[in-house]
């Protein structure tokens, strides 16, 4: 994990150092004298050799101090703390809803595999996945907010409960419905993989009913790949909702980093990238530990 982390830091550093624009030029703007640019250069340590700059970068990471955003002069650490709650308010319900809906549907189609129901659901899933997420958001926002007025078109407040029950439901439902198709397809294949195993044949041979086999034997075994998949989805909880945040004007982390890209606000992008990569690694580690509880046969080396 440590070498990987070092790799991530190096990748981000060199990406912005060699391919990115000159920070002093971006900071100073279009009309700046050479003295101003030089002053900014000195302030940021850009006149030092690159290994010293890498040292500065490392210190920033370790002390959680990336300084201020270039454009809004807001502390980068405060951007994290103030934007993350809004993002989590919509992404965590999305994740829970998706898994909770996809599991029973996948079980139902896996039970009826090969029948008309199975093939219809799968065809609908493929067609649903072929339409861009953008279209779902645009049309959903238009119908449910503009036309029917069931939800506010966009907005956010300071009150968590008001956000969760007034502003968040529409984006949550839209995203969960869109996520449903790929999840269902995936979980169905997990279930079908399991039903090929010997223990299923044994269970059938001893006369267990098909639903009981699915519920008692297949479900528990299929939880291993399901858990892997959920652990792959969890990192998306932090910025995965950027499109929803842009459409519904939700002041979250995803929208913030999109704005940072448009403003060439390097510190914000770098900080978010590095910290979320670390978080991703920690989540994967936690998932590995969790496996041993779900499946005692798996042992960590």
């Amino acid at each position: 994990m440590v070498p990987t982390l070092a790799g991530v830091v190096l990748l981000v550093f060199f990406l912005f150092k060699f391919f990115g624009g000159d920070p002093a030029q971006i900071l100073a703007g279009q009309v700046a004298s050479q003295e101003q640019i030089d002053a900014i250069r000195r302030e940021l340590g850009l006149d030092r050799p690159w290994h010293v700059q890498l040292g500065i970068f490392l210190r920033e990471i370790l002390t959680f101090d990336f300084g201020k955003s270039w454009m809004t002069r807001e502390q980068v650490s405060s951007i994290f703390l103030t934007r993350l709650p809004a993002t989590l308010t919509i992404t965590i319900p999305i994740l829970l809803l998706e898994v909770a809906l996809a599991l029973p549907i996948a079980m139902l189609v896996a039970y009826n595999r090969g029948t008309l129901l199975d093939r219809t659901v799968m065809a609908v899933c493929v067609a649903a996945m072929s339409i861009s997420f953008l279209v779902y958001i645009i049309v959903g926002q238009y119908i449910f907010a503009f036309q029917l007025g069931w939800f506010p078109v966009q907005g956010w407040s300071d009150d968590f409960w008001r956000n969760l029950f007034t502003y968040a439901p529409l984006p949550i439902v839209l995203a969960a419905l869109v996520g449903l198709a790929p999840q269902t397809r995936l979980y169905r294949s997990f279930f079908l993989d399991e039903t090929k195993n010997d223990y299923v044949r044994t269970a059938r041979a001893k006369g267990l009913s098909e639903p009981a086999i699915l519920r008692k034997h297949v479900l528990r075994n299929a939880m291993v790949p399901v858990l892997t998949n959920v652990s792959l989805l969890i990192p998306g909880v932090f910025v995965g909702s950027f499109l929803l945040e842009i459409f519904f004007s939700i002041p979250g982390l995803g929208r913030e980093i999109y704005l940072a890209v448009n403003r060439s606000d390097y510190p914000v992008i770098q900080a978010v990238t590095i910290y979320l990569s670390v978080l991703t690694m920690l989540i994967n580690l936690a998932a590995d530990v969790l496996y041993t509880y779900v499946d005692p046969r798996i042992q960590l080396r």
Partner: protein, 351 residues
């Protein structure tokens, strides 16, 4: 006995073609994909949708199948054009007044022709009165081309790195695994955003400013990892098989064993993964173009069409949204179905 031995194995690609034709869903999907490809070739050659950027209709011209419906936006534009009469005389206060004569002379040299604008277009018009159908065709060309080219680039990177890691093993494998881990531990959307930020404001911004290469680079740099993993696993499996050892025994070089002997035997895995990448990349390209991080403004893709459609829908002009959605959904559905059929046709277990 001799008769049995005489049977020559069926050519693998011919067998694939035969199985694909037998699969009804696969055959139909293939037909649709080929039709799209023909459309793209015609569009690229300038035979189709050449004038997509010309303002051939009134603003928000109604689709022909809807017929005459009140079009307030077009009436407003018309009124504004008629009102544009004599400007207020500013000669006494305008510091640029001495230049008026020169400008008038220059204006006289240019000829403007007001072209006849039709009130209906086959699939409606957009805000400037451009033909939405032509835009959708041109947009298909750009979106599919970006997806396919980026998928080919990602496949190239993934295949070469995967081949080296799987074939040589040891420190080459360790090093490439490290690179793989680094790229996969960064959430892909953040890698995409970082690359977009760097490429639009960085040292190479001017180089890529016009054209689809920014998107292609972003997609292929972020998307090669899955291909790498698959190819690496296949090469590890194949490198000690008898046919590879036999090739080594007759003196085939490492490069020859990797790319002449092993590669054709794992090409079916690569082909399926490549098709999956095309679908995934087209979806990402659409989102990037929607956000303004994708294709440049003088081009049209399904993504830029959708970004215009968002505001149009609110005033009840739904046809651009419908056009982009239908063109994209039909292609991606057909392509996904084709990929599924391809996978089944290539699966040796199902033969």
């Amino acid at each position: 006995m001799a008769a049995v031995l005489d049977i020559t194995p069926e050519n693998a690609w011919l067998a694939l073609w035969r199985r694909l034709r037998e699969d009804r869903v696969g055959a139909v999907s293939l037909g649709i994909v080929v039709a799209y490809l023909a459309m793209i070739v015609f569009a690229a050659a300038g035979l189709l949708a050449r004038g997509w950027s010309e303002e051939v209709g009134v603003p928000y011209a109604n689709p022909a199948f809807v017929g005459e419906r009140p079009n307030f936006e077009a009436q407003l534009a018309q009124r504004a054009r008629e009102k544009r009469g004599a400007a207020v005389d500013l000669t006494d206060v305008d510091p640029l007044a001495p230049k008026y004569g020169e400008w008038q002379k220059r204006t006289a040299e240019l000829k403007t022709t007001e072209r006849e604008r039709s009130t209906t277009l086959p699939w409606g018009g957009d805000r400037w009165g451009r033909d939405v159908l032509a835009k959708a065709i041109k947009g298909s060309q750009v979106s599919i081309a970006v997806g396919v080219v980026a998928a080919l680039c990602a496949t190239l990177i993934g295949t070469i790195l995967g081949a080296f890691a799987g074939f040589y093993g040891r420190w080459v494998n360790d090093f490439l695994e490290w690179v793989y881990n680094v790229f996969t531990s960064i959430p892909s959307i953040l890698l995409i955003f970082s690359l977009a930020a760097v490429l639009r404001s960085g040292a190479f911004a001017d180089l890529f400013a016009s054209g689809i290469w920014t998107v292609v680079i972003i997609l292929s740099v972020t998307g090669w990892t899955g291909m790498y993993r698959l190819v690496r696993a296949e090469f590890m499996k194949h490198r000690s098989r008898e046919y590879v050892l036999a090739a080594q025994a007759i003196g085939a070089s490492a490069a020859s064993r990797m790319f002449v002997h092993i590669l054709p035997n794992v090409s079916h895995v690569i082909l399926v993964q490549l098709s999956l990448l095309v679908v995934a990349f087209i979806k990402v390209e659409v989102i990037l173009s929607f956000l303004g991080l994708g294709v440049p403004v003088d081009m049209v893709s399904w993504g830029t069409m959708l970004s215009e459609a968002q505001t149009e829908l609110v005033i009840g002009k739904w046809w651009q949204l419908a056009a982009a959605t239908v063109f994209m959904a039909v292609f991606l559905t057909a392509f996904s179905m084709l990929t599924d059929s391809l996978r089944d046709a290539l699966d040796p277990k199902l033969r």
